[in-house]
């Protein structure tokens, strides 16, 4: 078998609906000098659809998926930006963190009401953003650190990250992962993966079992073959002059090496 087992149904290069991933659309964790920063997307930057319910679901997913990346009893600083949080929501966040042995200590906010709610609940409050977030976001932001997730991306779940996504688990039909970097799926890819979402066509999508509904790399789109897989190899999707192609992973590095 040659290195390129191609997708039969290649769709022409259509610009996919989503542009790159905005840094600030997702609930993120960031390690900073022995403490953990929990960063909520700013209210002004998210559409109205990014409600508390969405934020809450994302937070729970992050907490369920990444639990071995922090030590027990790590202190968490919540960067709530301009988001309005009431006492009950703050308490819910603190409880969710508590379930994985994280302790909420400090709240950064630019909203007076949130500050009051946080102070009432006994957290220390700062009415400005932490230093790490002060770097302005220009259009040429470097890729964020890889996002490591151990979970099933189930139907209706959408993971967006402005760097590379490493997923230990499956992307189920109806699930979607969008990354500005590469997407590595240590599992079965049956939903949609979009790598290089801000335009980098050198990005790759890798999966132990590649049965996607659709693959996108930068502006390229490919549909899955309609034929059933008979043998399963780890595979890598990449952009060639003919569009997106899928190669057996074991052959891919070799071919890249020879062609360079």
């Amino acid at each position: 078998m040659t290195s390129d087992s191609t997708l039969p149904d290649i769709v022409s290069s259509v610009a996919p609906p989503s542009g790159g991933v905005n840094h600030n659309l997702q609930v993120r964790f960031k390690n900073e000098e022995g403490k953990l920063l929990l960063i909520l997307p700013a209210e002004t930057e998210t559409s109205s659809s990014s409600s508390w319910a969405d934020i809450w679901q994302q937070l729970k997913q992050r907490l369920n998926a990444g639990d071995r990346f922090w030590q027990p009893n790590t202190t968490v600083h919540l960067a709530a930006a301009d988001r309005l949080l009431d006492g009950r929501q703050l308490q819910a966040v603190a409880e969710a963190l508590g379930e994985v042995q994280l302790t909420l200590k400090r709240v950064y906010t630019s909203r007076r009401q949130t500050a009051v709610a946080a102070a009432t609940a006994g957290y220390s409050v700062e009415q400005q953003t932490p230093s790490a977030l002060n770097q302005p976001l220009t259009s040429s932001v470097p890729l964020a650190e890889p996002l490591y997730l151990q979970m099933a991306v189930r139907s209706g779940v959408e993971i967006r990250h402005s760097g590379t996504v490493i997923l230990v688990g499956d992307i189920n039909p109806g699930g979607i992962v969008v990354a500005n970097g590469d997407i590595l799926v240590w599992g079965r890819l049956r939903g949609i993966a979009h790598a290089g979402a801000d335009g980098n066509s050198k990005c790759l999508i890798m999966a132990l079992q590649m049965e996607p509904t659709q693959l996108r790399i930068a502006d390229y789109v490919a549909r899955a073959p309609t034929t059933q897989l008979t043998q399963v190899y780890p595979e890598i999707a990449h952009v060639t002059p003919e569009g997106i192609r899928i190669s057996i992973a074991a052959d891919f590095s070799k071919s890249q090496f020879l062609s360079s």
């Binding site: 809450w56 379930e99 209706g156």
Partner: protein, 267 residues
């Protein structure tokens, strides 16, 4: 400790209410005290399936409005003394109730019942949120169809985000003959996507429809059909018993001769 279980699916019409009614009856027959809660406000029919429609006086809404006590609203089953139903209001919308109220209500039921089983409406909107509010575990019902499995997967994700981690799968309306010729997803196909432990497989069975119309859960029947047996097995597995899964594969004889065999062996 009492168990609070929600029966849910995402997609409509896959058998949630049928499962809830039969499971409630089967658990009661195993000697448990069971409260079934109809959380499908506006479209109630758990009372119909249980044949209790004409005994409904008060509903959840009156309880929450303080117009009656909780015990007054509970409809006692005429056949199984351990079984009661908390009916849903038929004439009010889903907005008449909120998740906090449901949680309180369900919790107060745990004082007197071993099992509280909540029948969820289809969808993932407010009615669904009400239904899962107090639940500690979930039964996901799906049929072996792509759309149903897709919705079930979505619901599993939502339940996990809500911290409900004890989730079991019931595959309903399986047609072994169709699976055999690759015209239907197999139980394994469904499980591969959902990746949650399976607690029951219920075959397609026209006696389910007959029993629905009569208001007599299948598990009550003298000669239980395969579906009735399957419901009973789910109840036993919930109780912690190890029960073999019924072999539904049509090997030498077809499905219907199997049922007949089963019947004659009981008689």
């Amino acid at each position: 400790m009492s168990r609070i279980i929600v029966t849910t699916s995402g997609k409509g019409g896959v058998g949630k209410t049928t499962v809830t009614a039969n499971l409630g009856m089967a658990l009661a027959r195993l000697g448990r005290k069971v409260a079934l809660v109809d959380a499908d406000f506006g479209l109630r029919n758990l009372d119909l399936l249980l044949g209790l429609e004409n005994r409904v006086v008060y509903t959840t809404v009156e309880v929450l409005a303080g117009e009656c006590r909780l015990e007054q609203a509970l409809v006692k089953d005429k056949r199984e003394p351990g079984l009661v139903l908390l009916p849903a209001a038929q004439n009010r919308t889903k907005d008449a109730v909120n998740p906090e109220q449901m949680q309180q209500l369900v919790n107060s039921l745990t004082e007197s019942y071993d099992y509280v089983v909540i029948d969820s409406p289809a969808g993932i909107e407010m009615g669904f949120k009400n239904a899962i509010a107090g639940a500690k575990e979930a039964l996901i019902v799906t049929t072996p169809e792509i759309a149903a499995v897709r919705d079930a997967d979505r619901v599993v994700g939502l339940l996990e985000a809500e911290g409900i981690k004890k989730i079991h799968l019931i595959v309903n309306r399986l047609r072994p003959a169709m699976v055999q010729v690759n015209d239907m997803m197999s139980v394994e196909d469904v499980q591969e996507i959902l990746a949650i432990p399976i607690i029951g497989v219920v075959p397609e069975d026209e006696r389910v429809i007959v029993s629905t119309n009569r208001g007599e859960p299948l598990v009550l029947s003298e000669n239980p059909s395969l579906a009735g047996k399957a419901f009973d097995n789910i109840a036993r597995r919930l109780e912690g018993q190890t029960v073999e899964f019924i072999d539904l594969h049509p090997t030498h004889d077809n499905f219907f001769t199997r049922i007949r065999k089963l019947l004659s062996s009981i008689i």
